[in-house]
Assembly symmetry: C2
Amino acid sequence: MATDEELEIAEDSRLGGARSVGLVETQYWTSDEPLDLECGAVLPQITQAYETYGELTPERDNAILIFHALSGDAHVAGYHSPEDRKPGWWDIMVGPNKPFDTNRYFVVCANVLGGCKGSTGPSSIDPETGRPYGLRFPMVTIGDMVRAQARLMDHLGIERLLAVAGGSMGGMLALDWAVRFPERTASVIAIATTARLSAQGIAFNEVGRQAIMADPNWRQGNYYEDGEQPQAGLAIARMIGHITYLSDQQMRAKFGRRLQNRDTLGYEFGTEFQVESYLRYQGNSFVRRFDANSYLYITKAIDYFDLSAGHRSLVEALERVQASFLVISFTSDWLFPTYQSKELVRALQAVGAPVTFLEITSEYGHDAFLLPNEELESAISDFLANVYRRIRGQHGRALSEEAAL
Amino acid sequence: MATDEELEIAEDSRLGGARSVGLVETQYWTSDEPLDLECGAVLPQITQAYETYGELTPERDNAILIFHALSGDAHVAGYHSPEDRKPGWWDIMVGPNKPFDTNRYFVVCANVLGGCKGSTGPSSIDPETGRPYGLRFPMVTIGDMVRAQARLMDHLGIERLLAVAGGSMGGMLALDWAVRFPERTASVIAIATTARLSAQGIAFNEVGRQAIMADPNWRQGNYYEDGEQPQAGLAIARMIGHITYLSDQQMRAKFGRRLQNRDTLGYEFGTEFQVESYLRYQGNSFVRRFDANSYLYITKAIDYFDLSAGHRSLVEALERVQASFLVISFTSDWLFPTYQSKELVRALQAVGAPVTFLEITSEYGHDAFLLPNEELESAISDFLANVYRRIRGQHGRALSEEAAL
């Protein structure tokens, strides 16, 4: 028989131990104020799913907004129930004494507009018809997602963020936030991202969308009420995506030409190589947790993303930023290669923004930002500590000056 | 009114001018001798479509066998009719005074086994049932394709080839030929290829196949008699392939984020960006000229390709080669990157095979081997001239020695 203490330790360890945020709950907030979208349409009301970790200081100066990537959600860290087998998607980074240290910072993450994890998206009920939006859902942009989350920050009473942070699409939201709300942003952590999606990125997204829309179950997006999710198409889209998230060298190391559960070639169209088995597994497990229409809308938002749009240049677009920047790329990331981060860094330098750039050597491709990496962890940890120290110093001075009056 | 001479010049120019092989005809040869395949199945008879250019010398020492890539065919050069708008797929390389100089060499190219351009493949009639094979067609390998073409060479009376040559999958056939028939191969030109397909390569092929097999029109491959070609699935497979044939830098230069026939974003799922339009065009035009089942079979053959299979190493596999090698890669080819060519070159050096390796700087990605490139052209031209000079020299000596007896 295990003692109570042993059980407690086991429980604690299963929930991630002392460095885990432990049990967390997704919260929902609905704003009935219509949101004007960039495409010209209006969303009459928006619900946003979000989670928070840590405590907001009385000065409200320690809030960090983390943005998730294409297939992510509000559940960054911790567990939803003691039975949960997996923690949130960035649990390695968010928790007590982790880089986004919940002992010091108040961390928020919200599911993006257009998503399918609790925020208003194509699978939500259209209040005008009482039925799921489907393709009647208006096209949303990274900027629309950001403006929706700004409202959530208002609701939470957070005027200025210590940091906005994200990888991949999350990095796009962070950059957009910094440009859109300069006075609300003390710092930006942009990882494995870009200031504008490349033609190759658009191409991969487009083929994924074509695969979904070619699935007869898609039915112009009307599959929610009396149909089935276009699983085959969505799985193919996910498989394409997955190849772009890994690196060639990593795939060689991880799979090579090894066969799956067999010693000799089968000469058949079933799974023969391990890499095929891996991809099929990724595709099939994705369709159980993600909505095909959300995949269409979010990839379009990513395609549209161009920080310089409406400006003569990226430099001009960045002219008003007031934040410090930490820009991180990975050597083997070919979806958002280092040259794209450097483009951003050069533009930030041109406007005189404080920017730290780090190219981390990794063989894990684009997905490297989601994996344990000491260099990544200490870079974020140190950057946040420095920004927070500076801000607290300013507060300290402001308070002293007030006292002196 | 144009004079006869002017008309003749116009005609000549339209057909590619003095450096064109002009009008050519595809020929067909059927072997009734059963072909044992690597998978264990037997093809009772095989037909091969092929074209020839130039003249075979009385010594039969100037024959070059060119192998096509995944979507190619026997029609390498020239025109099938005066109305033809486009010449063969490697017309820039094959013709009078071109690198594969048809004034000097006798060039042959055959459609691969499993293909859909005249050689026996899944769309051919199964003599046992009198109906198209469909998935009853046995799995074929690069080695099977090569052995079929060896029979064709026998039929044409060509014992030893001056050169076997090909890019991409064509390069795989050339390498396989050199290992399988050392005594029949004076030289090998292997361009933008590899000694074994990488995990990433298998992954892209697999997703393409999944897209085809997910198309309800595919019907387990039985769409020939009373159905429609699985166009949507095949188009998606082709679009995926096309992204891998281009380079990131080339896509940036060629398309960037430019919109197609519009000035502002449309916020719709139709074509908005030029790169989307390009991909859709590539996908849609491909389905008109290619069979979906052939795409499945040929990509599987590519996946299976591993020159070292059955040997302890690539070096061991190459031990018996007698040919000289020209290995060429392109800097921006990320589907068959330079490191893969280098792997091959090192193994060839280890067995003491004469090998020239050239990495050509190009921004055109994998497709660079199909595009005009002076460095590529002169490398092939010089290599062939040297090999031919050496062989003729040997002939010369052999003839002198005979005369001396």
